[in-house]
């Protein structure tokens, strides 16, 4: 019984509390910009905070949001985003996205690129993003 409970605790401990799923990027040429979209699933009882994104494929990577003001659309950098406990936050076109600025290579359709997301509690999560057209 003790062994069973210990095993359960171990399994629970090893299960990531924060997952990043369905990661994709827009196609773009070298020197241009792209945007990365994904879902952050927070299965823990505590909030977590995304505060940084990085990738060696672009000169600069920033967390952005699209906003609407006086009938106009624009983008701006956000310094951090809180993911509430037991919730899913979706980065999607027209909303939150990770900006890849001045690409160092072409992002061709169906290719795969790597990036890293930094969270306050979960730490660093490496992701692989597939380059695809809008579905």
């Amino acid at each position: 019984m003790v062994l069973f409970l210990s095993l359960l605790t171990l399994l629970n401990f090893n299960t990531p509390k924060l997952k990043v799923e369905n990661v994709w990027l827009r196609p773009a040429d070298k020197g241009m910009n792209s945007a990365m979209y994904f879902e952050i699933v927070n299965n823990s009882d505590n909030p977590d905070t995304l505060y940084k994104a990085a990738s060696s494929t672009a000169e600069l990577v920033q967390i952005h949001e699209t906003f609407k003001k006086n009938g106009l659309m624009g983008m701006r950098e956000v310094k951090f985003i809180v993911i509430k406990p037991h919730s899913t936050l979706t980065f999607k076109p027209g909303g939150y996205h990770v900006m890849f600025i001045k690409l160092k290579k072409d992002f061709k359709l169906k290719s795969e690129e790597e990036a890293v997301l930094y969270f306050k509690h979960e730490g660093m999560i490496k992701v692989k993003a597939v380059v695809k057209k809008q579905s």
Binding site: P27, M32, A35, K69, L72, M73, G74, D106, K133, Q134
Partner: protein, 205 residues
Amino acid sequence: MLSLIKSRSVLFYLPVILFSVFLINGCGDKLPENKSIGDQSYSLINQDSSKVIFPDAFKGKILVMSFIYTNCPDICPLTTHNMQMLQEDVKKDNIKNVQFVELSFDPTRDTPSILKEYGNIRNIDYSNFEFLTGKKSVIDTLIHHMNVIAIQGDTTFTKSGQPIYFFTHTDRITLLDQNGKIRNEYRGSTANTAEILKDIKILGD
């Protein structure tokens, strides 16, 4: 006497008849004629570096026009995607004489070759789709006339000294008739392509 009664009946019922005809024809099926750019002339360049006198080059065609800049990674690709979807719908429905145009309001960076690359990576079908750019002063005048605003934000620099700036801009797809009159305007990134297709068919009839 009988003919007098008949004519009085017709007079009595005439407003009802006219109103019925109005309803049957569909009062909502007429697109208002708004501002016209048909009498104007703008010298622009397309993605192949060919000179395009706008809107004369597309006279006689229904024009679906949107406004983008290629360094925009979120909103503008959505608009381009909607234009592509619409182009496919027009093709499927075998509607002839429709031209798709995306005008860049960032001509400093959006040269013909950059526009071509932006189109190529998205597999644009250029058979009736063109990207346009040109002199900044010409484009500023044109977009102003088409009720589009594009405000350039502050410029920052990457570590290697590359300038970065974005625009806050109108999110727009505009429908023009065969004479260059603006007939309807839609949100670009969240466009209801079925609605635009319906309006294209009205102009095509």
